[in-house]
Symmetry: C2
Subunit: 260 residues, 2 copies
């Protein structure tokens, strides 16, 4: 246990960050490879002098990106938000950027205080993979029926047991989750799937996208999504879509909880 | 002189390609480093057996990107366009993609037949440089007056001597060019400059953008652009903006000239 865990006088911060996950092992610090959490903890150690533990709202996998990841930590020094943003950005590679920082209310935690998270998945559905999409989309050159995918996506809204979409080996205490919205649209030449929910199982979004693409390609009817969901059986769903297409868009909190 | 230059029976092709120029020395083959032209010529040699000379419409510099570069060449084998696209794309790195290929009319040349080229320059005008923009925009965190920049940009439309915006050391026979459109707009959080013209001097777009940013920052009034243009003196214009923000968007031809 670190000092910060038992000393409420240490200033706590909530930071929002964006990263291009292509060259990293994911959010979480690993035995091998460079993680976003590790980069941030190293930057904080350099800034603050001691070891700092950073908690992230979503544990994005290797190759997954973030437009608005949220993290919390406590440090010895008190700084205003804008100064902390600049001080950390000069210590981070350009692929990882703090967008904002603010003081956090007592007890606020990036992950446990989160009410909703939003993920976006981009599919490049053209004959040729654009050089500008190769790090940020799944390349699916086969024709996709986007309106059929959109119909299937809506089936997932509400409270459900999402065991069918949990990566093998994951051990969540419960596989019940509430999905607030689940939709498919076209955006600038990409097929975009967006999902907001109160929590996500390991590889859940990517397993949903793999299933949606099976439906879009005509291998399965739109109604199949409800069957897969009801089966609570991972082997019934589609493949886990590649990491490159996935973005953690943002994390929502009760407005009172975030600021002290 | 190669056989293709004097044998009209060899099939000639017009290809359109996109590339992420970040990791390359530019379009043109150089003594050192990897060029887009070199990659394409190597792919064609692998496909066709002999040396193939490729002519590009615009000689993009190191780090400059293309959404629609056009190139012409003649090869021994006759292939349909879709087959040529696939055959070359499997021989090119993912950062370089053929988008289309078609047979070219006799005498058609990517550069000399071009009637108009369009370039786009992206400026990221926010406090923090997004990780997703670092390869594709110039990071200008200082406030920019975009409407003042737009007013200055329009001054360049028409036939003018653009000597003020020609990179030092360049030796074009004439520095007169016709600019069909020159405009500034906001697009998805970026300040975007777009220019279409019958030809461009070396570093011309980037020197114009450097001057526009001087105006946007308030270092110069919008009227200064006309003074710089009239001076025909490179030292009067702004700095050459970084390569990363520049895209060759497309090349236009008379519709009859392109196809046989």
């Amino acid at each position: 246990m670190r000092l910060q865990d038992c000393n409420p006088a240490m200033p706590a911060f909530k930071v929002t960050l964006a990263y291009d996950g292509t060259d990293y092992v994911g959010w979480q610090r690993q035995a091998k490879g460079v993680s976003i959490q590790g980069l941030l903890e190293d930057a904080l150690k350099d800034l603050d002098g001691g070891d700092v533990a950073v908690a992230g709202a979503g544990r994005t996998d290797a190759g997954v990106h973030a437009l608005g990841q949220v993290a919390t930590f406590s440090i010895e020094r008190d700084l205003d938000g804008a100064t902390l943003v600049r001080a950390l950005n000069v210590r981070l590679p350009p692929a990882v950027r703090l967008l904002a920082a603010e003081h956090a209310a007592e007890g606020f935690h990036a992950r446990f205080s989160a009410k909703s998270k939003t993920y976006r998945y981009r599919i490049w559905n053209h004959d040729v993979l654009s050089p500008f999409e190769r790090r940020y989309a799944w390349y699916v050159p086969m024709p996709l029926d986007v309106s059929r995918m959109a119909r299937a996506a809506r089936v997932l809204e509400g409270r459900h047991d999402f065991a069918s979409f949990q990566g093998t080996g994951a051990t969540a205490a419960t596989t019940d989750r509430v999905v607030f919205s689940s939709s498919v649209r076209m955006d600038g030449g990409a097929v975009v799937y967006e999902i907001a929910g109160d929590g996500f199982l390991r590889h859940m979004v990517r397993a949903i996208v793999g299933s949606l693409v099976d439906i879009g390609r005509g291998h399965q009817p739109a109604e199949w999504m409800a069957e897969v969901l009801a089966s609570r059986n991972r082997t019934r769903a589609g493949q886990t879509a590649p990491a490159a297409g996935l973005f953690l868009v943002g994390v929502e909190y009760d407005s009172l909880a975030a600021n002290r």
